[in-house]
Symmetry: C2
């Protein structure tokens, strides 16, 4: 099987909203009038982002899902993706499962695969996602306002808890592991929520590196502060029960890999947000409020546990820390 046949067999599907898909030097798409193009890229590497023996279906799903999450965090509609993949060898059963997982996610979120590259090398998956947002309506990090509520979707810390188990840092009972591992392997990007926050949220970010790091980016960019009481954060029953453990603090505040959205909105929007929560069958929790910091260097997040400042080993995920 050569490169061309490999692409034909595993990476070619009909497109929905594309003028010219894969197969030429480049793809062609039309951006609707009044819309901006939104672009984001994420790279996933074996041994760094997933275990070498991770299920290929999950790798395929997740590598696309994390990109969709970035566009959701902009309030944008993801529509197109390119996939560049380096493979150590052609392993057809691996490829079949990987492409199944990738396209399951693409179908679920109506994403067209419009191009890519396959090459030989240590396993590496690089995806660029593109989409549309009405002009000047994107949810940026820098536009949170003083006195805004801070909201979080879903629950935090599940992916990190499951990862801690897989890394041998903690031993979970099987039912607890099963209740948490789905978030690690097949995160569900909050695409519908992101779109519906247009006109409601003042800023938004996806929690990929952990709440403290990601909310920290928003607060720094908006020059605001916030205190986060860990007890008020949405989390699984296991997390609640073990909230005295430093590992649980770490998972909930700095675990990352949750791909929930963290957004700010004025208190006047609370009813609308509760309505979204009901419509989308998705927990939306108001976790704190923003305030104007005393000085420009005082912006950022202060985590609290039992009303006392909490210090963590790691504030968030850093590949080179």
């Amino acid at each position: 099987m050569n490169e061309f046949n490999l692409i034909q067999k595993y990476f070619t599907r009909p497109t929905r909203h594309t003028d010219l898909g894969a197969g030429d030097d480049a793809a062609l798409v039309t951006i609707a009038e009044g819309m901006q193009l939104v672009v984001s890229t994420d790279m996933s590497v074996a041994g760094t982002h997933f275990f070498h023996d991770a299920a290929p279906y999950d790798i395929g799903w997740k590598s696309l899902a994390v990109n969709i999450s970035d566009l959701a965090a902009m309030g944008a509609q993801a529509k197109w993706a390119t996939l560049a993949i380096a493979l150590p060898e052609i392993n057809e059963s691996w490829l079949a499962e990987f492409s199944c997982g990738f396209f399951a996610c693409a179908e679920a979120f109506a994403i067209d695969l419009i191009g890519g590259d396959t090459t030989k090398g240590p396993l590496n998956i690089s995806i660029t996602i593109m989409g549309e947002v009405p002009k000047s309506k994107a949810l940026k990090r820098s536009s949170a306002q003083p006195g805004d509520d801070i909201w979080v979707s879903g629950t935090l810390g599940s992916a990190a808890l499951a990862l801690s188990h897989l890394q041998g840092k903690i031993k979970l009972e099987n039912d607890i592991l099963q209740a948490n591992i789905h978030e690690l392997h097949r995160p569900m990007p909050r695409a519908t929520l992101g779109l519906s926050l247009n006109g409601i949220a003042t800023s938004c970010i996806d929690i990929s590196d952990g709440l403290l790091a990601d909310l920290g980016h928003v607060l720094k960019a908006s020059n605001l502060g916030a205190e986060i009481h860990i007890e008020r954060l949405p989390m699984s029953p296991y997390h609640v029960k073990n909230l005295h453990e430093p590992l649980i603090h770490q998972c909930v505040l700095a675990g990352g890999d949750d791909y929930e959205l963290c957004f700010t909105a004025p208190p006047s929007k609370r009813d609308e947000i509760q309505l979204l929560s009901q419509q989308q069958h998705l927990f939306l929790t108001c976790i704190a409020s923003t305030y104007k910091p005393a000085g420009p260097t005082d912006s950022g997040v202060q985590p609290l546990y039992k009303h006392m400042p909490l210090s963590l080993l790691k504030q968030g995920f850093d590949h080179f820390a």
Copy 2:
């Protein structure tokens, strides 16, 4: 140095035509009215696309240049790129040189770096390039016409000759190596030519995998045939002198890595094309004509040497062959 500082220090430059650059969940750009978005992705892997000890400046230049070449082959104006890079470790002098090479190419072709990802892993560079083309004016592979001239820019086989030397397949005198190695390390994408072929060429492709493979794609997609006399191809004096060597046939016909453009145009456009050649100080050589094949399976390229069919060891570059 953490990931954030690394991006700040090495990968942040002012942008020219971007609404929101790197630093948020995604970038925002506006596609001009009447234009289509053009997108392409290429991945470069250490050990596959370049030697592990290759000059980082060259890696930076080339990884962007090959992407620009894809957009040139569509007759499109490249404007934006994202860069995802996996690094085994933070090596600041390597990064400084890599980013110098990358941005030298970005400056030369007015490309904005609008986003990306840095992560830990075996060295891998994945770039997505985006640009614009007037609606329905992109130069596709499938629209060559019977009786069209086939043109090639620049010379063929230089990059492959230099690579053959580096791989120890041939021993070149230093002056010969120097005369050819620039094409291998710092290819010059034919961006201006690509743009000016709008309204002249009927199809276009960049020669990244070798003339036979790439022209073959055009002819197959357009259901046409062509005979290529190797003696008529543009090549360096060394190649001409050694044209009896099978290695030279291989370099010129199937070497790849030249990033010249191969395009088709009706004979009525010859004067216009000669004028472009003069204006752009770029050799443009008419190498053959297309014809309607006897049957649908007869489309494609037939290479000839001294009027006899030539068979090559490899038709083009395939990572998994």
